[in-house]
């Protein structure tokens, strides 16, 4: 392994998603939500704001306005990433690489989302000059529809049933009951799941992520600087990403081989295996993605995620997966809140939902950009 400068998350901040959901406000903006989360992350880190020399913005209209809003006009590095869930692992990866390379020493990642207050929707809109128009003319425009098609294929090839999706949705909701900031905290049953209306059949409403408002922020710095800070640094393994890109949300093998490549590279870089992980934070814009991720990242063999979920996510779950409620119950912060939860579990600060003795968390995102990494209190990746 090359000689690397280790990087840690030293500050985590999230807004109260449930309160924001209860009070829809068309005047709310991304800057304010990101700033709320950043203030919390900065306080958590114990760093002076002046120590931040890099800023990565996600789902923020202007990085320039964001930096100005936060009173950080003179940075060594700043940029924006598009408003997509696949950006969460990339944001961590960029911060890690920038700090390793010495381009910045302490980076803030800020995410702001006014999806609910701004009435964001997915599906429908398309550019008639784009290649996607050839799918849209057939009524196929939303990521949910494409994921539904992937699940249909999985069901056909491996006999997976929608019960498995229901278990994922129920597991998320059960976890959310222990998270006061989660948007949806009423437990659901398999009957509730099955009686939810179809959106893109075979997917039902409870397979879909929420659209809500919120902010998430992180402060990352080098292991060296992290030593002097008041809160526990959460060390980040090498972030591994790869792609399976197409003009549409389709992968020939359901992103399986892409996720396998990431899993193998992560294993080579860290020596960690799926069975070593205590906390699984799985990107779940739609519940089938959890099944595809469990297979792709090596938690079970290809085609066996339905059985894995039945075994491990029953009424008394054997595995901690999306412990804060995931995108279908906590809120859809496009992966960023899943990473925040992973860091909190590792620090032992996850409140009522804390898993005793949690030492190692994995963030997994299966999408056209697949990304994954581990989190640990142990500085084990230098």
């Amino acid at each position: 392994m090359m000689n690397r400068k280790n990087v840690a998350i030293v500050g985590v901040g999230t807004t109260h998603f449930a309160d924001l959901y209860a009070k829809r406000d068309p005047a709310r903006d991304e800057y304010g939500l990101a700033a709320d989360a950043f203030a919390l992350a900065l306080a958590d880190s114990g760093l002076e704001k002046s120590k931040i020399d890099g800023l990565i913005c996600i789902r923020i209209p202007s990085y320039s306005a964001m930096a100005s809003y936060l009173g950080m006009p003179h940075l060594r590095f700043v940029n924006s990433l598009e408003a997509a869930g696949r950006m969460a692992a990339l944001a961590i990866q960029y911060a890690q690489l920038l700090i390793e390379a010495g381009a910045a020493e302490t980076i803030a990642i800020v995410y702001g989302n006014v999806g609910r207050s701004a009435s964001a929707s997915y599906g429908g809109a398309f550019n008639t000059k784009s290649i996607n128009a050839y799918d849209a003319m057939n009524g196929l425009t939303s990521p949910g529809a494409f994921l539904a098609a992937h699940f249909q294929r999985h069901a056909a090839l491996y006999g997976t049933t929608t019960d498995a999706l229901g278990r994922v949705a129920i597991n998320n909701r059960r976890n959310a009951t222990l998270n006061p900031a989660a948007v949806f905290r009423e437990p659901i049953t398999l009957d509730d799941y099955m009686s939810a209306p179809f959106i893109a059949e075979p997917l039902r409403r409870l397979d879909y992520c929420l659209i809500n408002d919120g902010g998430v922020a992180f402060v990352l710095t080098s292991a060296e600087r992290a030593q002097d800070l008041k809160s526990d640094p959460v060390f980040i393994s090498p972030v591994v990403t790869t792609t399976d890109l197409s003009f549409r949300y389709v992968s020939e093998d359901g992103f399986y081989s892409a996720a396998q490549r990431v899993a193998q590279q992560l294993h080579c870089a860290t020596g960690i295996k799926a069975g070593d992980v205590d906390i699984l934070q799985v990107y779940d814009n739609f519940t089938p993605v959890v099944l595809l991720s469990l297979e792709g990242f090596g938690y079970c063999p290809l085609g066996e995620a339905g059985a894995w979920v039945a075994e491990n996510l029953g009424d008394l779950p054997k595995v901690s997966l999306n412990s804060s409620g995931g995108h279908t119950s906590e809120g859809y912060m496009q992966g960023f809140a899943l990473i925040a939860e992973g860091a909190r579990q590792i620090r032992g600060t996850a409140g009522d939902r804390q898993k005793a003795g949690a030492q190692l968390a994995q963030y997994m995102c299966l999408s056209p950009i697949v990304g994954s990494f581990y989190l640990s209190l142990e500085n084990r990746w230098s």
């Binding site: 599906g123 429908g124 290649i131 050839y134 003319m137 009524g139 098609a149 249909q152």
Partner: protein, 137 residues
Amino acid sequence: MADEPKIEYPFPAIQDYTEGYWQGAIGGKIRAQQCKACGYVRLPPTAHCSQCLSTRSKWVDLSGHGSIWSWVIMHRPYFKHHWQVPPYLVALVRLDEGPLISAAIDADQERLAVGKKLRARLEEVAPGRFLPVFELT
């Protein structure tokens, strides 16, 4: 589906490199571009070949035969004006010549299965706009 009302709807723009596709459809054929430089067959139409980046291509009529890659039933209206009325069935179809396209299927869901063979007919769903609708063979 042939009996459904034909409603005005935003279709893909007709550009110099897409015109041949729509002309072929009027003639009852699914057409693809074949790259004149490397022979790669591509659909939907694009200005460049994704393999060799050549902009020179010719139109070839495809067989209209393919098989089911997957399908969904859309239960929500995503457009104010759409030729399909929810719930409607839309499939991803692997054409025998290679491209993966989305299209309507004129069959009951109970009869569908991944890999099942299909044959296309071209149907005028709006004035001058002929889209493939697949039937089981």
